[in-house]
Subunit: 432 residues, 2 copies
């Protein structure tokens, strides 16, 4: 029976077997230390037996071994215990040297080296930690929505037309016919409100982003939700607040050590996220900022940063809702503000200086869709199967999408989203 590093303190005085990767060897004159890494942590193995000491010289770092020995208390060792009288056997061939030292507390490799060697590089506890946080966040996202009676769905990633935005889609050869990779599950999740009322999906989305930046990916994980029978976008924002709360709580509950390795301080639970209207936000920035943003249909990155600093100062909140964006820059299915038809029932959720979530109320009347598409010189016939749902009766509804990698990247304040992406895809990179 294998015992994990984290459980060893319960076995003082007993003979146990541990297994894992040789994290580090320290061979002194009369004593040799071997640190074994497993999924739960590190185990210190110590020996002064000359034949074992000699054997260790043939066990390079990253080799996988199984070691049986006696656990002894030692306050100097990583977990307060160490394994003594070791008998070592190999579970893998002797490992080739890794592209950089996995055992050093800090990461000595550059991002390209890390990405090129991801299968090995991600073994470094600091590089692995973001993905433990991602897994916990996803679990928190799902748990919050399950509590609210949302149904999980799987929608197709191969789609017939590039209708949502037209640009930046990947084309595929579908049995000799043209097809595309879905940029979002937007149309499907809306129509599924007609079936389940409340739906969510966690899955890949694809953007043929021609930009090579620290923020863009060609494939990322979108966490989507959509719900019916809302009054307006504030009902959607209330669900999103619960979801973000669930994600933070899950990270705290499940991956404390990953947070610690990265020195992440989680934001306080967002009880009552402050909200500012888009037009008021622009006025505020105009009064206080260098540059007057009024007349612009969207917020520039600098404005988002300014507003986040303002929300932190005024409300002690790391989150801020901006509502009522102009219709002009929002997609055709956006529901207008009934009082101010130039503005929309939409929102962005800003977090630590960046937009984290976009969402809002959607149109739900068939007649409104026909009018909206016609006004944009689009042919409703190109949207026939999507529009069928509205023609056959849909409730007022809305939803949102969170980019998983962006969320983790903001939590850890990474300077590049690729630190939060297992195997990034971008204009330069298709491997590993």
């Amino acid at each position: 029976m294998r015992v994990l590093a984290a459980q060893l303190a319960e076995y003082v005085g007993q003979k146990v077997t541990v297994a894992g990767w040789v994290h580090r060897r320290r061979q002194l004159k009369s004593v040799t230390f071997v640190i074994i890494r497993d999924r739960s942590g590190l185990t210190q193995v110590v020996t002064n037996d000359s034949s074992v000491m000699e054997q260790v010289t043939e066990v390079p770092e990253e080799t996988v071994v199984e070691i049986t020995g006696v656990i002894m208390a030692n306050p100097q060792a990583p977990a307060g215990v160490e394994l003594t009288e070791p008998a070592i056997s190999f579970l893998s061939d002797p490992a080739a040297p890794p592209p950089f030292d996995i055992y050093r507390p800090s990461v000595t490799a550059t991002l390209p080296v890390i990405l090129d060697n991801a299968p090995v590089a991600l073994r470094h506890p600091r590089l692995r930690a973001p993905f433990e946080i991602a897994a916990a966040s996803t679990a928190g996202f799902r748990a919050a929505l399950e509590r609210l009676q949302f149904t999980e769905i799987s929608t197709p990633k191969i789609v017939r037309s590039a209708t949502e935005s037209g640009a930046n889609v990947f084309a595929i050869d579908y049995f000799g016919h043209p097809a595309y990779l879905a940029q979002s599950p937007q149309f499907y999740k809306q129509t599924m409100v007609g079936v389940f009322e409340r739906v969510y999906e966690v899955g890949p989305v694809f953007r043929a982003e021609p930009h090579d930046t620290a923020r863009h990916l060609a494939e990322y994980t979108s966490m989507d939700a959509e719900l019916g029978f809302i009054t307006d976008h504030h009902d959607v924002m209330a669900v999103l607040t619960e979801v973000v709360t669930g994600m933070i709580e899950a990270a705290r509950a499940y991956v404390g050590s990953a947070l610690e390795v990265l020195g992440i301080e989680l934001p306080p639970l967002p009880i009552g996220i402050p909200e500012i209207d888009f037009a008021e936000a622009q006025e505020l920035i105009a009064k206080n900022g260098a540059e007057d943003p009024r007349g612009e249909p969207d917020l520039a990155p600098a404005h988002e940063r300014w507003l986040c600093e303002w929300a932190l100062r005024e409300f002690d909140s790391q989150f801020l809702f901006v509502t009522g964006y102009p219709m002009a820059k929002r997609p055709f299915y956006t529901h207008p503000d009934p009082q101010r038809p130039e503005y929309s029932n939409s929102f962005d959720l800003l977090f630590r200086g960046q937009e984290l979530v976009t969402g809002g109320q959607r149109l739900h009347r068939y007649s409104d869709y026909l009018a909206a598409l016609t006004a944009r010189n689009e042919n409703p016939a190109n949207y026939a199967t999507y529009l069928a749902a509205f023609e056959h009766g849909m409730p007022p509804h809305g939803g949102f999408a969170i980019g998983l990698e962006r969320w983790v990247s903001r939590l850890m304040m990474a300077d590049n989203i690729r630190y939060a992406t297992l195997f990034p895809r971008d204009i330069q990179r298709l491997e590993p």
Copy 2:
């Protein structure tokens, strides 16, 4: 405040608001009934008010309405209560007639009509139910693996080479370079065992299946798991048994009404799934069946059916493990049986007449990979980033993949897997 159909019994004598789709109108001479459908069930609304009766004539089935009225007990009504003195308001435009009657207990449409009109057709409770079972099964899959300390990962669906099988891949134009849609997360989940030890993923996989059958899809949801530090494939089978148990338990706990609508009897919890060796299974079939399968490297569908009947008869089990398939028909990364190198440490899990899961132990030594690829006349250089993980030390490991749609399809004994697929993709179908 909206009250759901399932909660109405708690509101007898009170004025409440319900909202949903007009499921069915029954307009008699002196009384009109309207059945409202929401995500929890059906509400009977009754009125003899002539102005409301007239209003109902203008509210076609599938129109979305909000109705306020007083809840009264009525043992004849669906949930023992009905809504009286209704005041009706529209939440959608009056709905166009659906492609077939959503309100009839049985489905009167053919499969092509259902698929062509999925956004509306899936509102039928019998057609919606499989997806509620799918959602619960997925939750059960994840919960079982989380209990066993597996980490959820997201691996890329756009990949550089079609290495796993070579055939039946979808090609994409990746910024002017050729790329492919991943047929499985196999290589990624294996390398991530080197990082997390135990990983799982629920996500889309893509097969350019040229077959137009009741069992094949071009895109489906694969539930993948992989774990390190195993002795052999029996450790993987033990995890799979817990996972299948979790999936059944979740369906029972969360979606009882969906099971009831479809008349599904769940299999008993599979405590100790019987196991038969491939060669022994062939002998058994040869002794009892019409056709002698010996010498064949795989089981034919008829043999799988025969074995399932045998397991039900002999062990009262709807599940059966077949182990030790010949190496010849298994992929290059399959671990041989150390005692019989022509046979493998692999397994299939059969369920109700079909293969449900394929899995096994994988090779883990770098030298074994080089030998296996060379023996198959493959160039190891084409697998460089995958092989890097093994070169740098990997433990003995194995895993399995369950097709979500096939699982649900078998549970409901559907004659076509498309009844368990929201928006199927196949050689004929790319829409909706």
